[in-house]
Subunit: 609 residues, 2 copies
C-alpha cells in the first residue's frame, strides 16, 4: 500500500547503471542551475534604483557606473568559477576550494554557509513567487503560507522523481523568462534608437547630485550585487552533467554569465533611460514593460514568466544542496545517509532535508521571509570570498602557466566580495548578525559529527591479518524465560536445546501457589532442562529477570561463555488482536538488548487464527 | 528518571501480600462507593419538581406519592442487592447475576451497560461539579473543560495510589455532605413543627390539578428514580472490603440505603412543604437552604459540600469499573491486562482506561454532558432490570427457605425497573437511542475478544504427556548478513560459528567493484565461512536478503533444519549519535520477524565513545 503510493508519486525505481540517463545536457542544466541567478535580474536593478532614489531622481544616473561594477564582479566570478570547475571536477565548489587551499575549517564555513543559504533560497524565492501570485489574485492571500508549502512539496517531489524529469518540466518557464526579457530589452533599445523614447526623461550622466556620498553608492552597489546570488550553483553540481562534465559545466557557466550580464545591463540601462524610479505600487520591471509595450499581452507575458522564475529559483537549491551534502558526508562531516541514492538515483535524503527545512522556515516566518534576504546574501558572499581567496593561494603556490592573469582576476573578485561583506555588516547588521551565530553553530555540529564517525571507525576497525578461523570459539549458555507450558515455550526450549546443553529455564511467579504449580507441571513434562523459579513480590517480571541474567552472566564471564536469551514474540493475525496481548515481551527485549552485553534471539510465533 | 516521576506520583510499589492493608473498612467503603448514590439527593428531588411544575405549582403535591414510589424501588433494590452480595461474593454484581441465571449474553449486556455507565458517571459528575465551581467563580468559565480534565486526572492518580489512600482523603467531603444535609433536614423539620413554616405556602395533598395525567406522573417518577443510580456499585466491589467481605458489604449497602432513603424523603417533603418550585437561577436545594437558614455560613457550607460531592461521585466509578473489568477479563471477554494489579495493588489498567475514556468524553462534548444524563440512567436501569430478573429465576429454580418473600421483593423491583426503562425510551428517545447502538456494539466486541482468546488457547495448548526430552532436535543453519569487515561482523561470525558449522555469510553490494573488493578481503581474512555475494541493482538490501533467506529456507525445511539470522544492533553512547547511523538493521529485523518463520538473533554492540 505505502509502496504503491510511493511508486505513484516518485515513479518506479531505477537500476544503478541507468544513472547515465539522469545526467543533464547543457540546455537542461542551464535551466535548472541558473534559474536562481537569472531570476535576480527581476529584482537586482530595482534594488539599485531604490537605494539611489533616496537622494532624488537626479541620482539615478549613478546606476550606470554601479552596473559596470556589478559586471566586473560577475566577470571575475565567472572566470574564477570556471577555473574552480576544471580544478575540482568532483563538485563541491567553494567548500572544496576553501578546504584544499585554506584548511578544513574555512571549507566548513563555506560549506555550512552554502547549505544554510540553499534553505534560505528555497524559502525566499517560493515566498516571493507566492507573493506575486497573491498580488494578482488577492482572494488567495489568506492561504499564502499553505500555497508556499504546497509549491515546495511539488518541487521536492519533482526532484525526487529525478533530475532529468524535473529538468524537462522546469526548463520551459526558464527559457520563456529569458525570451520575455530579451524581447523587452530589444524592443526597449529599438524605441530608444528610433527616438520614440526621449532623452529628456532622465538626468544626464554626470549631473551633480546634492547629498550623494560614497556610503550610499557602496550600499547601492552591494544591493545590486544580490543579482549575483546563484552564480556558484553550477560549481557544486558538476557530477550532474553529461560527460565530459567539467567541459559542459564550464560552458554552461559561461552561457549563464553572458545571458545574466546582457539582461542585467540592458535592464539597468533602459530603466535609467526611461527615467523609472521605485514605486510602492509597481515593480521597476513592470513599469519598464508598461513604458515599452503598454498594458498588452506582451506585458502580461513578461509579468507571468517573472512570477514563475521567482518560484523556480528554488530549484537551483534543490540541484546544488544534495551534491554539496554528498561532499560533506564523504568527508564525514554530515550524516552518512546523505551519500545514498534514492529509488530514482537522486540523493533523496538531501532533497527531502532541504524540502522539510525550507517548509519549516516558511511556516515559522509565516511566509514573511523578506527579512531573511540580507542574511541570504551574506550566506552567498562568504563562500564567494573564501573560494576567491583559496584560488589566490592556489595560484601563488602552484604558479601554473599564465598565473598572473588568473591571480589578477581572483584578486579583483576577492576584493570586491570582501568589500560587499563589510558593507552588508555595516549597513544591515540588525539583519545579518544571525550569521555570526548560525555559521559557527553549523561548523561546531560538523565537527561533532566528524568526531563521532572517527570514534566509530576506531571501534569497528579490525586487524584482517588475524585469521578468523583461528579464533577460539566460546561456549553458549541459553536462558529461556517461560510463562507456562505452551506450544510457544516448547518451541523456544527445543530451539535452545538444539544449540547447547547449557539451557536454563526461568519462571517468574507472583504467588507461591503459582510457582508450586509450575514446578509440578515442569517435572511431569520431563523437559531435561533445569527450571529456576523466582517469586516476584512486586509483580514485576523485568527486575527479577534482569537480576537473574546478571547473576548468570557473572559466572559465565568467568568461564568464558556467552549468554543468549531466547524469547518468543507473538504475531497476531489481525492488527487489533495485538492489543489483547501484553506487549511486555517486546519491552523486556528492548531493555535487555539496550543494557546488557548478551545475545537475544527472537522466535516469532505467528498465530494462524 | 521516568521511574522517579512515577514513584513521586503514585508512591513506592507495594508487595503482593500487603493487599490486606489496602482493603476498606465499612466507613471508608461507604464514602467511596456511595458518593454517587448520595450525590443524587442533590438533584433527584429537583428533577421530580421540574417535571411536575410544567402543569403548575399546584401539582407539586404529587411529589409526595412519587417519592413513596422511589422509596419502594430503593427498598426493593437494597434487598435485592443484599441477596446478590451473599449469593455472588466475588463481586461483579449485575454482570454475574445475569450471566449465571439468564445466560452469557444477558450478563454481557448488563456488564457492558455498567462499563459504559461508569465512564458516563465520571464525565457527567465531574462536569456537573465543574459547572457548580464556574457558577461561583465566573472567571473560570472559559477554562471549564481544562478544569474538568485536571479533576479527572487528580482522581485517577488518587486511585492509582491505592484504594486505602484515596478513601482516607475522599471520605471527609462525603461525610461533610451527609452532615450538611442532615442538619438541613432536621432544621427544616424543626421549623415546620414549631410553626415557623406556614402550611399556606403549598397546595394541600389531593388538590385537583388541571392538565395532569398518568404520563406526566410516570415521567416525574422516572426522573426521580435517577436518584438511585450508583446503588449497584457496592455489589461490584465486594473484594475491596475487609474480611468478612460479604457481611461488611451487605451492611454498608444497608447503611447507604437508610441514609439515602432518609435524606431523599426529607428533602422531597421539605421542598413540598416550603412550596419550592424549579428556578433557572437557583437549584431547589439552594432555595430550600435559603428558606431554612437564610444566606449565612450554614447555607454556604451546604452549597460547597454539594459541589464537592458532585465531583466525588466520579470516584464511585473508579472503585467499581476496575473490579467489573476484572470479572469480564477473567471470563476472557476483556483484554487480559485488566486482571493485573499495578504497583499499588489497584487494578491500574482499569483505572487508567476509565480516566482516559472519561477525559475523551469531556473533551468531545466540551464539558456539555447534560445530554448524556438520560443515556446514563438507561445504562443503570438495564442492569438493575436484568439482575432483578436473574434473581427471580434463581429463586424459582432453587426455592430456598423463605423464597416467596424474596421473590416478591425482586418481582416488585423488576416490574418498576422495566416500567422506568419503558418510560425512558418513550419520553426521551432522542437522548437514549444511542444505547441501542452502543450496548450491542460493546457485546459484539466482547464476543470478538472472547473468540480470539479461545483461538489463542487452542493454538498454545500442548499435550504434557509427550515428554519434551524425547522430542528430536533439528539442525541449525545460520545466516549472517555482513556489511564489511569490522569488529561487529567478527563478533556475529564468531557467535554463529560457536553454534553450528552451517554458517552462511551474505554480502549485498551495490556495484560489481564493491562486491569484488569484499570477496578479496574475505578470502584474505580466512574466516572458514562461505560468503555469498548478491548484486542489488536497485540499491535495496531488504528485497535481495529476503529472497535469499526464502531460497535457503526452502532447502533447510526439506532437511528438517531451522534458520537463524544473526544481526548486530548498534547502541550509541549519546542519543543524537543514533541519528548518524542508518537504522536499516532495525527495519530489516522488524520485517523478517514479522513475515518469516525463522529465529532472529540480535547481538547488541554498545559503542564506548
Amino acid at each position: 500500500m505505502v509502496s504503491k503510493i510511493k511508486r505513484w508519486i516518485i515513479g518506479k525505481p531505477l537500476k544503478t547503471h541507468e544513472i547515465q540517463d539522469q545526467k543533464l545536457n547543457k540546455l537542461k542544466a542551464l535551466a535548472l542551475l541558473s534559474s536562481d541567478a537569472l531570476s535576480s535580474v527581476a529584482y537586482g536593478p530595482e534594488q539599485i534604483v531604490t537605494v539611489l532614489a533616496v537622494v532624488g531622481m537626479a541620482a539615478l544616473w549613478y546606476s550606470l557606473p554601479i552596473a559596470v561594477g556589478v559586471l566586473v564582479l560577475l566577470l571575475a566570478l565567472i572566470l574564477s568559477y570556471r577555473q574552480i570547475i576544471y580544478a575540482y571536477p568532483q563538485g563541491g565548489g567553494a567548500y572544496v576550494v576553501a578546504k584544499e587551499n585554506l584548511g578544513m575549517n574555512f571549507g566548513l564555513i563555506a560549506g555550512g554557509s552554502l547549505l544554510i543559504d540553499y534553505v534560505l533560497t528555497v524559502a525566499v524565492s517560493v515566498s516571493a513567487g507566492t507573493d506575486a501570485m497573491t498580488s494578482a489574485f488577492p482572494a488567495l492571500h489568506p492561504h499564502s503560507v499553505l500555497i508556499a508549502v504546497v509549491i515546495v512539496i511539488i518541487i521536492t517531489i519533482l526532484n525526487l522523481r529525478g533530475l532529468s524529469e524535473s529538468a524537462t518540466i522546469l526548463a520551459y518557464p526558464v527559457y520563456l523568462f529569458v525570451l520575455a526579457l530579451v524581447v523587452l530589452t530589444i524592443a526597449g533599445f529599438y524605441k530608444v534608437l528610433t527616438g520614440h523614447a526621449p532623452a529628456s526623461s532622465h538626468a544626464p550622466v554626470g549631473s551633480p547630485v546634492a547629498g550623494i556620498g560614497l556610503f550610499l553608492i557602496l550600499k547601492a552597489f552591494s544591493s545590486g550585487c544580490s543579482a549575483l546570488t546563484g552564480v556558484e550553483a553550477i560549481s557544486n553540481a558538476i557530477p550532474s552533467f553529461k560527460a565530459p562534465s567539467e567541459k559542459n559545466a564550464a560552458l554552461t557557466l559561461s552561457m549563464m554569465g553572458v545571458i545574466l550580464g546582457a539582461l542585467f545591463s540592458g535592464i539597468v540601462f533602459l530603466t535609467y533611460w526611461y527615467g523609472i524610479g521605485p514605486s510602492v505600487h509597481q515593480t521597476v520591471l513592470s513599469q519598464l514593460s508598461t513604458e515599452v509595450f503598454g498594458r498588452n499581452g506582451v506585458y502580461y507575458f513578461i509579468q507571468a514568466t517573472t512570477a514563475l522564475i521567482l518560484v523556480l529559483a528554488a530549484n537551483t537549491g534543490f540541484s546544488a544542496f544534495p551534491l554539496l551534502a554528498v561532499n560533506l558526508a564523504q568527508d564525514k562531516f554530515m550524516p552518512r545517509p546523505f551519500k545514498s541514492r534514492g529509488d530514482r538515483l537522486g540523493y533523496s535524503n538531501g532533497i527531502m532535508t532541504l524540502g522539510v527545512a525550507s517548509i519549516l522556515l516558511i511556516i515559522i516566518f509565516e511566509g514573511n521571509v523578506s527579512n531573511l534576504i540580507p542574511l541570504y546574501a551574506v550566506g552567498v558572499f562568504l563562500p564567494f570570498s573564501l573560494s576567491q581567496t583559496g584560488m589566490i593561494l592556489k595560484w601563488i603556490r602552484t604558479k601554473p602557466k599564465g598565473w598572473g592573469m588568473k591571480l589578477a582576476a581572483n584578486l579583483i573578485g576577492a576584493l570586491i566580495c570582501y568589500l560587499i561583506l563589510i558593507i552588508f555588516f555595516i549597513t544591515k547588521f540588525t539583519h545579518v548578525w544571525m550569521a555570526l551565530i548560525f555559521i559557527p553553530l553549523v561548523v561546531f555540529v560538523f565537527h561533532k559529527i566528524h568526531q563521532h564517525y572517527l570514534d566509530v571507525g576506531d571501534q569497528l576497525r579490525i586487524d584482517i591479518s588475524e585469521k578468523l578461523k583461528d579464533v577460539k570459539l566460546s561456549e553458549n549458555v541459553i536462558i529461556v524465560p517461560v510463562s507456562g507450558i505452551t506450544t510457544v515455550v516448547k518451541q523456544s526450549l527445543l530451539y535452545a536445546k538444539s544449540i547447547t546443553d547449557h539451557v536454563i529455564a526461568v519462571y517468574i511467579g507472583f504467588s507461591p501457589e503459582a510457582i508450586e504449580k509450575m514446578e509440578k507441571q515442569w517435572e511431569e513434562w520431563d523437559t531435561g532442562v533445569r527450571l529456576v523459579t523466582i517469586h516476584s513480590l512486586y509483580r514485576s517480571i523485568l527486575t527479577p529477570l534482569s537480576r537473574f541474567i546478571d547473576a548468570v552472566k557473572y559466572k559465565t564471564d568467568e568461564a568464558g561463555a556467552r549468554i543468549t536469551v531466547v524469547m518468543p514474540q507473538f504475531y497476531t493475525k489481525k492488527w487489533w488482536h495485538a492489543l489483547l496481548h501484553n506487549q511486555s515481551g517486546t519491552l523486556i527485549r528492548a531493555y535487555l538488548v539496550r543494557t546488557k552485553d548478551i545475545a537475544i534471539t527472537t522466535i516469532p510465533y505467528h498465530f494462524k487464527k
